[in-house]
Amino acid sequence: MLVILCPNCGPRNSDEFTYQGELRSRPDVNATDPAEWRRYLYMRSNEAGWVSERWFHVSGCRRYLLIERNNVSNEIRDVEVVGGEQA
């Protein structure tokens, strides 16, 4: 069981959230080419250890969160609302 300390809602079971994947930088859609765009779509660094990822609190405040999680131990050290503002 993974408990996520949502800055808006407090500690909640990870069942309330949807996992959106590792944080990636999106290429500029006006300057990119198909190969670069597909790399952005499909390729993942998939590192083991501390990673930054995006989650969505779908059954709570419905805000996107930036979470720093150790994906080997499932420990979480930082949760921020994307954009920094709180509801």
Partner: protein, 430 residues
């Protein structure tokens, strides 16, 4: 000098004894120990081929390299013991009723190889073709099953859609009434599917590969891959470097990390998949039962335990710890299917790591680094593909290019955008 194994025991350099009724009798009367199933070898400073990962894929590759192509200067490096990863953690289901022609053809070859494997490697792998039944709980899934059955028939695979009455006859303990929340409307029936003893498959391939000259190095972790001028030159391990021109990444769970050592990025996300087993009871469930809507599959082992599996966990992780959500969800879903087993006790649960790809197809083929090949991205369907993947990878190494069966599974498909469409045939919803 007699080499010693990792526990300091001297390895017996006798040829492998054939497993037969006569030898069982003779060995029993002679009171001498059996020869070791595979030998311990010193790590040589160079090999023609280095296979990373001592699971069914790596060992099968070594076996077919030796048997079909005479390539025997091969090292299999495994960071733990052989079969300790996905090969020992799967639910041992074998089937070939996939959605696409290329998927069906590929897995059908695997079923054929599994059918002959016990004779082939002289090891009892206990393959029981009891039939594989995928339940449909909605009109939409019934339609997909008709589609799958037709694709399968075109490839010559025994696969058809059956009615609830026929289901009841094959598996009397299933609730086929309209009482459950997700009533059973029909099923995709695949008689050649079944279950196999997964550890025996690993040991059988290991024994046969070893007998033909491949070196199995357990407790040997790969720590780096040397690349010079775009070519693989060596593999660094916890027991020293190995010079080689051909490296095959046959890992699951750590595929991205091993590929990153050679500077190759893969389209993979690693997710745990949990499974569980109950106490053993008398035989009452013959076929393998799968329900996509209920995210579960169940079979009864020859020992009598029910083995359950689920879909992958809802988030990426390299952790193999079980979760309470899995157990409660599994129990709820399984009781929808078979209310009669409500009082059975669960013995244990475990998790294995699944390398999920964007199109739910594997990645087999060369990479931008010359001499560095991958056989990865096996998601939740790697064990059943072990023999055909080993045979195809061995063929690719010997001939220098991927064969017909695997040409659609190359890494370059993610660059060109020609993805496979296998998602609809994954056993349970992802």
């Amino acid at each position: 000098m007699v080499p010693e194994d990792i526990y300091g025991r001297a390895s017996m350099a006798k040829p492998t004894t054939k497993y037969s009724a006569w030898n069982l009798f003779r060995q029993g009367m002679s009171h001498t120990p059996w020869t070791r199933v595979w030998d311990h070898h010193e790590l040589k400073s160079s090999y023609d081929v280095v296979i990373i990962g001592g699971g069914v894929h790596g060992l099968a590759t070594a076996y077919y390299l030796a048997r079909n192509h005479g390539i025997t200067d091969v090292a299999i490096v495994e960071k733990s013991y052989i079969g300790s990863g996905g090969s020992g953690r799967n639910t041992a289901i074998v089937r070939s009723n996939y959605l696409t022609s290329e998927g069906s053809r590929f897995y059908d070859r695997s079923v054929k190889l599994y059918e002959g494997l016990a004779d082939d490697v002289n090891f009892n792998v206990m393959f029981e073709q009891r039939g594989h039944m995928t339940l449909a709980h909605s009109d939409a899934s019934l339609r997909t099953m008709r589609w799958r059955a037709e694709v399968n028939k075109l490839e010559g695979i025994d696969s058809s859609v059956i009615s609830p009455e026929a289901i009841k006859e094959l598996a009397p303990y299933l609730d086929v009434t309209d009482h459950p929340r997700y009533p059973i409307l029909g099923a995709l029936w695949h008689p050649p599917g079944g279950i196999i003893r997964h550890d025996a498959v690993v040991w059988g391939y290991a024994r046969a590969a070893n007998a033909m000259g491949a070196h199995i190095h357990q407790e040997t972790e790969v720590t780096g891959i040397d690349v010079a001028d775009g070519r693989v030159t060596a593999v660094q391990t916890s027991r020293g470097p190995i010079a080689t021109e051909t490296v095959i990444n046959c890992t699951a769970g750590w595929a991205s990390l091993v590929a990153a050592m050679a500077g190759v990025t893969l389209p993979i996300t690693t997710r745990p998949l949990q499974a569980a087993v109950t106490e053993p009871v008398k035989a009452f469930l013959h076929p393998v039962i799968v329900s996509g809507s209920l995210h579960t599959y169940v079979s009864q082992t020859s020992r009598g335990e029910l083995v359950f599996g689920a879909s992958v966990d809802p988030f990426a992780s390299y952790s193999t710890r079980g979760s309470l959500e899995f157990t409660t969800g599994l129990a709820t879903h399984v009781l929808e299917l078979m209310p009669a087993i409500a009082n059975m006790r669960m013995l244990r649960q475990w998790a294995g790591l699944c390398d999920m790809t964007p199109d739910f197809g594997p990645i087999i083929g060369p990479t931008p680094v010359e001499g560095f090949y991958v056989d990865v991205g096996w998601g939740t369907y790697g064990f059943k593909a072990g023999p055909v993947a080993g045979e195809s990878v061995a063929d690719m190494i010997a001939n220098g290019r991927p064969g017909e069966l695997i040409e659609t599974f190359g890494l370059d498909r993610f660059e060109s955008g020609t993805l496979t469409a296998e998602k609809g045939a994954a056993a349970v919803g992802h």
